[in-house]
């Protein structure tokens, strides 16, 4: 068990370390266009080949990891906290509060947010640095991505509220706030962990998809999402397995997050 944990921890550490050391590992940078070697196969110079503009894919993966591994978990944390607060409180308080919170959640699930994002892009200046653009994007994702978890959390919290031990605690005169934090929130953990874990890859992909609205990372900056989008051109990717490296890496990192989290949960529970 310990060995597995160390292994997954190592995956995360290597990913983080390599992206941190990108300046040394890929000195030419992510934007350098080797125009004579576009869409090249892996070679000694370009370990993962080059993209369609001749940019070194290895460098782009390293630099892309930096942005995505920093911002996606942050946005996931934000959305998880929002979900805990809205879903947890709604379920715990019950009655009218729960109704209102769930109606708002349902609206969030069904409104065409695309148009809000288009409006946000219009409010931002065109000459904005790529980092600000990606920051705004992840912030938006964090603010919009809490709904699914909130609904499940509300159901969990309602179960906890109606459970015997909370009734007993209430009868014993425990304060509402204390009850919420001590008895309700710990029982929401499985859902919160799931929300956090699912949000990371979902946000990474959403960031790339928002590229069509002019949000997300701006060229020439790479992100995991924009690297994964390469796969959408299936016809050209099929025979070139090295293009799947960003995907494999992302799966590994996301899995290691999940497994470390579940160990954490076990240790806590």
């Amino acid at each position: 068990m310990r060995l597995g944990r160390i292994l997954w921890f190592a995956v995360l550490a290597i990913a983080l370390g390599a992206s941190g050391a990108a300046n040394w590992l890929a000195p030419a940078g992510y934007a350098k266009q080797y125009r004579e070697a576009t869409d090249a196969r892996p070679s000694a110079e370009h370990w993962l080949g080059t993209d369609e503009l001749g940019r070194d894919r290895f460098a782009r993966v390293l630099y892309g990891t930096r942005i995505s591994l920093l911002l996606a978990p942050a946005a996931a944390l934000l959305s998880t906290l929002l979900a805990a607060l809205i879903g947890g409180l709604a379920g715990y308080l019950g009655g009218v509060w729960s109704r209102i919170a769930m109606a708002v959640t349902d609206l969030f699930l069904s409104l065409p947010w695309l148009f809000l994002l288009i409006t946000v892009r219009a409010l931002m200046p065109l000459n904005v640095s790529p980092f600000v653009s990606v920051l705004v994007t992840f912030l938006l994702l964090g603010l919009l991505g809490w709904t699914v978890a909130a609904r499940v959390l509300c159901a969990s919290a309602a179960s906890v509220r109606s459970s015997d031990f909370v009734r007993q605690a209430k009868a014993a005169g425990l304060s509402g706030q204390r009850l919420f934090w001590v008895h309700v929130v710990p029982n929401l953990k499985p859902v919160l962990y799931a929300q956090f874990w699912i949000s990371i890859p979902v946000f990474i992909l959403s960031e790339a998809n928002l590229g069509i609205l002019g949000l997300g990372v701006a060229e020439p900056m790479p992100s995991w999402g924009s690297l994964l989008k390469e796969l959408e051109s299936l016809v050209s990717v099929g025979a070139e397995p090295w293009k799947f490296v960003p995907l494999v890496l992302l799966v590994l990192v996301v899995t290691s997050f999940q497994i470390l989290l579940s160990k954490q949960e076990e240790a806590a529970g």
Binding site: Q33, E52, I118, R121, L126, I212, G214, E219, V235
Partner: protein, 548 residues
């Protein structure tokens, strides 16, 4: 009716008689000449209308081409006008009147006979100002009524209030409607007719049993039984379906897919050479645009625009983005437009050094790798383009890198199309745009609304009350002069001068002309892709498909 039935019998007999001979000939030459079959390909957007007068998108234009009968057809291969429903025609000296002599014994797909009344009806409908038909607008050179005069049962003349340049060519786009048919615009005179439409999925065209045309052997055209048009905007899916044999042709192929396909089966792909389409970059020169004044001053300087043009490596754009299936653009017209292209134009030179020299003349200087203007503002601007167009996105990134070499920082922003159009035509809140121009016709009159400074499509600075620069005034004058002249050489001289001014001033920085790429399955016989739209199925009435 009798007359037609008689015709039909003769034709059937003729067909039988020739069938044997043709089959033999086919076997001998190794060509399959099987009649019939279904041709299948993709439309890339939903056709917005089946009314040929209101066509405004590619899908609807394709359907109009396949179903509509026209008086005069521009042969896509020879680029010459040919008689269709009109046996002959004549344009008057003053260019205001055109008279047609119609073929007789022709009927619409539903059997309604075709008469001069139908032509008169079509023209009146077309020219109805309330219809806002793009086809009709091409004819509208001045206000006033269009008069149609039926001279005899087979002769009709149409009088316009003022001269219309290239009048006869415009009729290539006018599909004749029936005045009396209860099926309205679904009664057609072209080789095919719409048989079924599943919105979002497909359009099925069936051969028009009453189509009038025959081939050299007297066989009734078209050969095909039907055409199935799948509505599929995704090019990857189109490619997959083509590879699996579920489609017979891809009309406009991406260069990336062209190469992938060519490496596996070179017999399937066709590169017809440079097309009329161009891709260009332009700066916002609108006086009231909400951008900093110093930036507008850069954009309004011809020196600045020339420098940008010289700093862009067009060879690389063509080689990397289009895999060599594009040519660096020289000016407003592609060399493919043999008559109208100005042969005196030289290929654009790539020279960052000369670009820097040109910029120095305007007071720009390079400081620690950053270009600064006279007032010390760092030169930075954004280029917007429509999201989802990979070629444009890639060109923008290459240009971003090219301009970095002369110290200019470019931000590339992709926007969804409606947002882009709003910035471009209403709010003018942009700095530079990369977009393409599609040319369907060869004549410069097609581009009247692009080059006139008062026009809405004069994108860099549209709808000027009076020309804001002397060179735009000169272009206005030349464009009007060529439009009102019947003399082809005089027109050519005037338009050559327009091309030279545009290349000198660079209001549009033309980047490349794409090649016309297509893929045609070996099941399809008789295909001869050309550069003019519709590239691969311009001769659909003579195509055959075997074994599907």
């Amino acid at each position: 009716m009798k007359h037609r039935n008689g015709n039909f019998i003769t034709l059937a007999a003729l067909r039988d008689a020739f069938a044997v001979a043709i089959v033999c000939a086919g076997i001998m030459t190794g060509l399959a000449t099987a009649q019939g079959g279904q041709l299948r390909f993709c439309l890339h957007n939903e056709p917005k209308t089946f009314n040929p007068l209101q066509v405004d998108d590619d899908a609807a234009a394709s359907i109009r081409y396949l179903t509509g009968g026209v008086l005069i057809r521009l042969n896509r291969q020879t680029q010459q006008l040919e008689p269709e429903l009109a046996e002959s025609w004549k344009v008057s000296e003053d260019g205001r009147e055109i008279s047609f002599r119609l073929r007789s014994g022709i009927a619409f797909s539903d059997g309604t006979p075709f008469t001069t009344e139908d032509v008169a009806y079509t023209v009146q409908q077309l020219m109805d100002p309330a219809l806002h038909s793009p086809t009709g607008d091409s004819f509208r050179s001045a206000n006033g009524k269009v008069e149609t005069k039926v001279v005899s049962p087979s002769q009709i003349s149409i009088l316009f209030p003022a001269e219309v340049a290239g009048l006869d060519r415009l009729f290539d786009q006018v599909a004749i409607l029936s005045q009396n048919s209860p099926k309205k615009e679904m009664a057609v005179l072209g080789p095919f007719m719409v048989a079924d439409y599943k919105p979002g999925a497909s359009v099925l065209l069936q051969r028009n049993p009453n189509y009038w045309k025959r081939d050299e052997q007297g066989r009734r055209l078209p050969y095909l039984d039907s055409i199935l048009l799948n509505i599929q905007p995704n090019r990857d899916v189109e490619m997959l379906q083509f590879k699996r044999g579920e489609l017979d042709l891809i009309n406009t192929l991406d260069s990336e897919y062209f190469d992938k396909l060519a490496s596996a089966s070179p017999q399937l792909v066709h590169d017809a050479g440079p097309s009329l389409d161009s891709e260009q970059l332009w700066f916002n020169e609108v006086a009231k645009a909400p951008i900093p004044v110093y930036k507008r001053d850069w954009f309004r300087s011809a020196n600045f625009r020339r420098a940008i043009s010289e700093a862009i490596n067009r060879e690389d754009l063509s080689r990397i983005v289009y895999h060599g299936h594009a040519q660096p653009a020289m000016g407003p017209f592609s060399p493919a437009n043999k008559f109208w292209f100005d042969a005196a134009l030289k290929p654009p030179a790539y020279s960052p050094d000369k670009a820097l020299q040109a910029l120095a003349a305007d007071g720009f200087r390079l400081e620690n790798g950053t270009l600064k203007d006279r007032a010390g503002n760092a030169v930075e601007f954004s280029i917007i383009t429509n999201a989802g167009n990979k070629a444009r996105e890639r060109m923008a990134v290459l240009i971003q890198d090219d301009l970095q070499k002369i110290g200019i920082h470019v931000n590339v922003v992709t926007l969804d199309f409606p947002s882009l159009i709003e910035r471009m035509t209403q709010s003018f809140d942009y700095e530079a745009i990369i977009l393409g121009l599609t040319n369907v016709d060869l004549d410069p009159n097609e581009e009247m609304n692009v080059w006139l400074s008062s026009a809405a499509n004069h994108q860099w600075n549209p709808q000027q009350k009076t020309p804001e620069t002397p060179w735009e005034a000169e272009i206005d004058r030349l464009m009007r002069a060529q439009a009102s002249s019947g003399d082809a050489n005089k027109r050519k001289a005037a338009f050559d001068r327009v091309q030279e001014i545009v290349v000198d001033q660079q209001p549009f920085i033309f980047l490349i002309n794409k090649n016309a790429l297509s893929a045609v399955s070996t099941r399809v016989h008789g295909a001869a892709p050309v550069i003019l739209s519709p590239q691969t199925f311009w001769n659909a009435e003579r195509l055959t498909v075997s074994g599907n």
